[in-house]
């Protein structure tokens, strides 16, 4: 009877049952021998649960990235085949999509534009945030609190609300003498200027400055350092973690901008806008779009891997003082 039942089961399932039986027998034997101390079952179960959950979440997050990378090295006809070939690993990778995106798709110049604009925005935000943060942290001036609250309030205003005002401003700036050619529509200036200062940055750095002991400021004053040299020699070096977080955040948001560059740029397209263009150019070659997407995301991946710690610290900044 049991032999019949066993024969009727799928071989895989049978092996599974045998495995379970073997494990149960072995543990029982060890327990009887008095040498087996089970690792507190409740705690072990909880840990296992947690890992399973995290694994599932990680898979959900990683799946689109996986599909993108996979599709970028498949032939277009393989991508659109129904039902899809479920290739876990593209053994016959076709890298031509990348060179096409880089050369014909102009991704190289899009990347350059994105890089220039991002560097402008990040350095602008760092300078304005650090200077504003210093004023709010160390200087005394009338209406300090009120002005700081106004600063913070700008964080609540979505960019879309001031979108057209900014557009108008940038368009007008194109008529300015001397600098007009660098700040009008379709210039790097136009792409960067609305983002050169943020309330968030001033807030983040101010919190870090406030955690510096007042004695350090006093000692520096006695040692002969004025505000600017105290800022550059003491306050900024000691706030490096917060400043690094700010740089990363502003890098990510600048790099990933879409709406603003789409409207103000034509020749100076950034990579996110360029990807959209890529799809329009090569409809039958969807793998090129995927390749371009991977190229556009590459700098972010590198930064993410290199600065994970700072990012996490930035997310929790201000939660605990000090």
């Amino acid at each position: 009877m049991s032999a019949e039942l066993a024969g009727a089961l799928q071989p895989g399932f049978r092996n599974f049952l045998l495995g379970v039986a073997a494990v149960v027998t072995l543990s029982a034997a060890l327990a009887v021998a008095g040498r087996f101390v089970p690792p507190r079952p409740a705690a072990a179960f909880r840990t296992a649960n947690r890992y399973v959950l995290l694994t599932v979440l990680a898979l959900i997050v990683l799946f689109p990235i996986y599909i993108t990378v996979l599709n970028s090295v498949l032939q277009p006809n393989e991508i659109i085949r129904r039902p899809p070939t479920l290739a876990i690993w593209p053994w016959e990778a076709d890298w031509s999509g990348y060179s096409q995106a880089w050369d014909q798709g102009d991704v190289s110049s899009y990347l350059l534009n994105s890089a220039v604009v991002t560097v402008l925005i990040v350095s602008g935000q760092l300078v304005t945030s650090i200077l504003a943060a210093y004023a709010f942290a160390f200087l005394e001036f009338p209406l300090k609190r009120t002005i700081f609250v106004v600063f913070l309030a700008t964080m609540m205003v979505p960019f879309e609300v001031v979108f057209f005002t900014n557009l108008q401003t940038v368009a007008t700036m194109g008529d300015w003498p001397v600098v007009g050619d660098h700040v009008g529509l379709d210039t790097y200036g136009a792409l960067a200027i609305p983002f050169l200062a943020t309330g968030f940055g001033a807030f983040l750095v101010r919190q870090s400055f406030l955690s510096l002991p007042r004695d350090l400021r006093d000692a520096a004053a006695l040692d002969g350092y004025g505000h600017f040299r105290f800022l550059t020699r003491v306050a900024v070096p000691l706030s490096r973690p917060a400043i690094a977080s700010l740089a990363l955040f502003s890098f990510f948001s600048a790099w990933n901008q879409y709406l603003w560059p789409l409207v103000v740029s034509d020749d100076k397209r950034t990579v996110q806008v360029g990807l959209r263009q890529l799809r329009g150019v090569a409809l039958d070659q969807i793998n090129v779009t995927f390749a371009g997407t991977v190229l556009a995301a590459l700098p972010l991946f590198v930064l993410l891997l290199a600065f994970q710690k700072q990012l996490v610290r930035g997310l929790t900044a201000g939660a605990v003082k000090g």
Binding site: D215, D218, A221, L222, D223, G224, V234, L238
Partner: protein, 363 residues
């Protein structure tokens, strides 16, 4: 080298008066200790000398110049902070060198000065370390080295020993005294610890609620406190104080204490008569009290603390006033709850006006 003078200096923070009409002269090469409980204004006074706070009224003089409008960096002073205020991202050498860099001292000379300051404080082996890798005592010495490296006219020290453990504090105390003697610099030193004040200062200035109470050599302040506050603040255990009424006594005067009547010594009688006070407080240092069968003030022993070399006997008078007697440990210890009699010599009696707290008799 220079003197430091406070001339009618007042500092207000809003409605709070931190320092009230302080007039005090710190002489050239003097080690002056500003002593008082926390919140008495001593740190504020020091910060005004440093230029970190501006006096609301009055003038501060360093050397021969009024410095009210001079920047901290141009006052030629150095300060040691309670927290040491070392720059955590710089090495020991970087910290010591920092004040020289801002003054554009050439690199070669800078190195020479840093090495000299480091060797004066025994930091030679630690120059490449960061402050976080140092012990509290070492950090303290780095802070001192940073202060002495540019040879200022005046050192300001704000409770520099209070973050050290007790043993290290005693050792560093001695080192600081020696350092001051070697550098021949004026030092203004702030502390709330009367032992530090007694052992280190050439003179002590005692502040309370922003008001200067008394200035004098440690022994003078101890022997002749100007008022009840100073009497209670200096000395450990503090001076015993017992309230009483002045009464006539055979042509002289006496003070009626709980359970006894203590005749006043002749030297004080005239002063008490002149002052016309009736309610007084009698003060006696614990070491000037004896347990003596012939004593005139009865008391009940409540606690006997043995410190090895001596004993502190806490007693209560009939009205509940607590009195502490310092007794050499070679004498027989009294039994707890037993009745004893207290005696003292007339010259050790201090008399204070109960209403104002001021000392009665020549200061």
């Amino acid at each position: 080298m220079a003197r430091v003078v406070f001339q009618h200096v007042t500092k207000r923070f809003g409605t709070v008066v931190a320092v009230d009409d302080l007039t005090l002269e710190v002489e050239d090469r003097e080690f002056l200790v500003l002593l008082g409980p926390s919140g008495c204004g001593k740190s504020t006074a020091l910060r005004m000398v440093a230029g970190l706070e501006e006096p609301t009224e009055g003038e501060i003089v360093i050397g021969d110049h009024v410095v009210n409008d001079v920047d901290p960096k141009d006052r030629d002073i150095a300060m040691v902070f309670q927290s040491y205020a070392l720059y955590p991202h710089m090495t020991v050498a970087g910290n010591i060198e920092f004040p020289l860099r801002s003054r554009r001292v050439p690199a070669a000379q800078r190195k020479e000065l840093v090495d000299a300051a480091a060797s004066a404080l025994g930091l030679e082996g630690l120059l490449d370390r960061k402050p976080s890798q140092l012990s509290g005592g070492q950090r303290q010495r780095v802070a001192l080295a940073r202060a002495i490296v540019r040879r200022p006219q005046v050192f300001l020290m704000d409770e520099p020993l209070s973050n050290l453990d007790a043993k290290l504090r005693v050792q560093t105390r001695a080192e600081l005294i020696e350092l001051q003697r070697r550098l021949e610099t004026t030092v203004v030193y702030v502390t709330h610890d009367q032992v530090e004040a007694m052992t280190m200062g050439h003179r002590i200035a005692i502040l309370r609620d922003g008001v200067l109470q008394q200035v004098g050599a440690p022994q003078d302040v101890y022997a002749r406190p100007a008022n009840l506050f100073v009497a209670g603040f200096i000395g450990n255990p503090p001076m015993n104080t017992i309230a009483g009424k002045v009464v006539g006594d055979d042509g002289g005067l006496a003070v009626g204490l709980p359970g006894a009547r203590v005749p006043l010594p002749d030297g004080i009688v005239a002063a008490v008569r002149n002052a016309g006070v009736e309610e007084v407080v009698i003060g006696v240092r614990p070491e000037h009290l004896r347990l003596d069968a012939g004593g005139i003030v009865p008391a009940t022993v409540t606690v006997v603390e043995s410190l090895g070399h001596e004993r502190h006997v806490a007693c209560r008078l009939d009205d509940g006033t607590l009195v502490i007697v310092r007794q050499p440990s070679d004498q027989a210890a009294p039994s707890v709850a037993g009745t004893v009699h207290l005696a003292t010599d007339a010259q050790h009696l201090h008399v204070f006006d109960a209403a104002s707290g001021d000392r009665v008799g020549a200061p």
